[in-house]
């Protein structure tokens, strides 16, 4: 029992934990919804260990201890594995919430994570109206880009920049990650410029997501979240498709955890 809750001694604090396939993020907010700290760690093979590590880091950065947290919301595919969370909410609601909080004119959220991608339509209050997710394969996700960057032996950071330097685009016909990788290897063997191939790979991801965007429809301003939003190659191509700029937070990877922390605050106040 966190007794201090009822004593009105001090500020209340909220945590959002997003356990994704690749990384686990934690965001800690105070009662004004100001972000005190965040952390990003690899999820690895043990969700609980990753959560302990990420939460410990974020708490120490905020100068808090775990029992000072009033409400914890877990999200992401590993949300079910956290025994101590007060509530488990899907990443879809969380990304919608954080996009609305950071960029209130947002009506469409494109989240491209390590394992899946989503397009979410929200109303002017940040409530989810509709959404779509990619099917099970890695096409159109961060994993696809990661595997392809591996084929070129370049870092993910450089990968997006190389795409921007392309003179032309070599289309990649396979959407399957495994087949696309062999397609890339044969293009490399034909001495095609790597920038052009890389541009084609980025287009492949964007085309895949674009189909999902059209299913949900483009409404209002668009916000991108998830690790792939750090990749300029993807963002530039997506902005070309949309014909307008996209809102991106300086750390798009923590948008799920931020949304979870915001919802933690909301649920805490509702339940109080």
């Amino acid at each position: 029992m966190r007794l201090w809750r009822f004593k009105g001694l001090s500020m209340t604090y909220f945590a959002g934990i997003d356990i994704g396939s690749l990384t686990t993020e934690v965001v800690i907010l105070d009662s004004n919804a100001d972000m005190l700290s965040y952390s990003i760690n690899l999820t690895g093979a043990d969700c609980n260990e990753a959560v302990d590590q990420a939460l410990g880091q974020a708490l120490s950065r905020a100068g808090l201890s775990r029992d000072q947290l009033s409400f914890i919301v877990a999200t992401g595919y590993g949300r079910v594995t956290i025994p101590f969370s007060d509530k488990k909410i899907t990443e879809i609601s969380c990304h919608g919430t954080s996009a609305h909080h950071l960029f209130p004119d947002t009506e469409t959220v494109i989240d491209i994570g390590g394992q899946d991608s989503k397009v979410i339509r929200i109303d002017k209050e940040g409530k989810v109206l509709d959404f779509t997710m990619n099917d099970k394969c890695a096409a159109g996700t961060g994993r696809f880009l990661e595997v392809m960057a591996g084929a070129f032996r370049v870092s993910l950071e450089d990968f997006g920049q190389l795409s921007l330097k392309a003179e032309r685009e070599i289309p990649i016909s396979s959407v399957c990650t495994v087949f696309a990788e062999s397609e890339v290897i044969s293009l490399i063997a034909q001495n095609q410029a790597r920038e052009d191939i890389i541009r084609g790979l980025h287009s492949s991801v964007v085309n895949r997501i674009w189909n999902m965007v059209q299913t949900v429809g483009v409404h209002g301003a668009v916000t991108m979240s998830g690790g792939v939003a750090k990749n300029r190659g993807v963002v530039v191509l997506m902005e070309e498709k949309l014909g307008k700029p996209i809102h991106i937070h300086t750390e798009p990877q923590i948008m799920g955890a931020l949304g979870a922390a915001l919802l933690a605050k909301r649920h805490f106040l509702q339940e109080k």
């Binding site: 899907t90 879809i92 109206l129």
Partner: protein
């Protein structure tokens, strides 16, 4: 719960988990068991022949392995799972199997089924794809051929009286299913979607007279629930093909939605329509299976030339059941490679939009391996409609 009725629910559980146990017993008594997989098979004819129709199920927990040696993976995963289980010996007690011209997977692989399993009896029910006078005539004649062929196999000439009697039993069965659905109408419902799925699945593995008795006992027990044991949460409708396992419904209910109605093959859509009585029984059966079952495999001509009216004439039953059960939202659940439903997804979505029922469309494999993926989508949908 009194002892007798406690026994009923454990019997249902046992029939559900050890699916086919009653059919095996009957087989040992010398009764012929005829397998089928589609609601378009006129079960009345099988019952009238003195045989027991047995609805074959797939198993979402059993990976498809042996079946793929003979059946191409272009067939739908539900059908492949049924075939896989058959090849692995799960349905070795069958004396025959009947395949209808339901979907492409069924029609185009009838021969694979027939020659691989090599059962003593097999028959293909050639159901026309359009509704007209000539197709009714054609279908009635086809049913007559089926009646003669099965009668010969069963060693019994099937008379009109036999048919009329079987029709009566099935109409009774449909009334009992209707009564079960009535118990889903209160908010919260008296009976859960998971329970209903189990009850209906089990019913399709029994002789119709036994299923009727079982449903009566279940109804008696359920009516003793003065208060609903469930929470008052969002009321969900499921639309799609057949659902012979509880996984999806249970997932929705575990995540905090009540599944209160459906338009599924083994639910309202194909279970409820009655067969007319009093006239030529074969014509009445032809009419029921051709026209009264609103399966997307049958083409219904739009004479209105107006999309809105066409939507209403094709999918009005969905709206009817949604209104009647006060559904808050719906899930359209379609198996991958399901040709009748797959092609209809955009127009079904348009219909749900026209009746302003929030819809989640799920395309799935027939496999428990996708539960995690479905969980996020369903939970997000439930959060969305709160």
């Amino acid at each position: 719960m009194n002892e007798k009725n406690k026994d009923i629910f454990s019997r249902i559980e046992s029939y559900y988990t050890d699916y086919g146990q009653r059919a095996k017993e009957l087989k040992n008594e010398g009764i012929k068991i005829i397998g089928y997989m589609c609601s378009l098979i006129p079960l009345e004819i099988i019952t009238a022949a003195g045989c027991v129709p047995f609805r074959m199920r797939g198993d979402v927990h059993e990976p498809i392995t042996k079946g793929d040696i003979n059946l191409e993976t272009i067939a739908c995963p539900f059908y492949r799972s049924c075939f896989d289980l058959s090849v692995k010996g799960k349905y070795d007690f069958l004396d025959g199997s009947i395949v209808a011209h339901g979907c492409d997977s069924m029609a185009r692989t009838y021969a694979v089924w027939k020659y691989t399993l090599d059962l003593p009896y097999s028959h293909f029910v050639n159901l026309p794809h359009t509704i007209s006078e000539s197709s009714r005539e054609f279908f009635r004649a086809g049913l007559n051929t089926f009646r003669k062929s099965l009668g010969k196999f069963a060693g019994k000439e099937i008379s009109d009286d036999d048919l009329a009697e079987a029709i009566g039993l099935y109409n009774e069965n449909r009334d009992k299913v209707r009564a079960l659905y009535e118990l889903r109408k209160p908010d919260p419902p008296i009976v859960s979607g998971t329970e209903i799925t189990k009850i209906l699945t089990v019913g399709a593995s029994l002789p119709v007279a036994e299923a009727n008795k079982l449903f009566d006992e279940v109804l008696e027990e359920l009516r003793q629930r003065k208060e609903s044991p469930f929470k008052k949460v969002r009321r969900i409708m499921i639309d799609g093909a057949c659902m012979d396992n509880i996984e999806l419904v249970k997932l929705i209910e575990d995540l905090g939605g009540n599944v209160v109605v459906d338009t599924l093959c083994n639910g309202t859509r194909d279970n409820l329509p009655h067969t007319d009585t009093g006239n030529d029984p074969l014509s009445a059966l032809a009419d029921r299976y051709l026209d009264k079952i609103n399966c997307p495999r049958t083409y219904r001509e739009n004479k209105e030339q107006d999309l809105q009216k066409e939507l209403e004439s094709r999918f009005g039953d969905i709206g009817f059941f949604a209104r009647e059960s006060k559904a808050d939202a719906a899930i359209l659940y379609v198996y991958k490679y399901c040709d009748p439903f797959g092609f209809e997804v955009p127009v079904r979505k348009a219909y749900f939009e026209s009746i302003k029922l929030p819809l989640l469309y799920l395309e799935d494999e027939y496999s428990a391996g996708t539960i995690g993926q479905l969980k996020t989508r369903i939970q997000a949908f439930l959060e969305m409609i709160q």
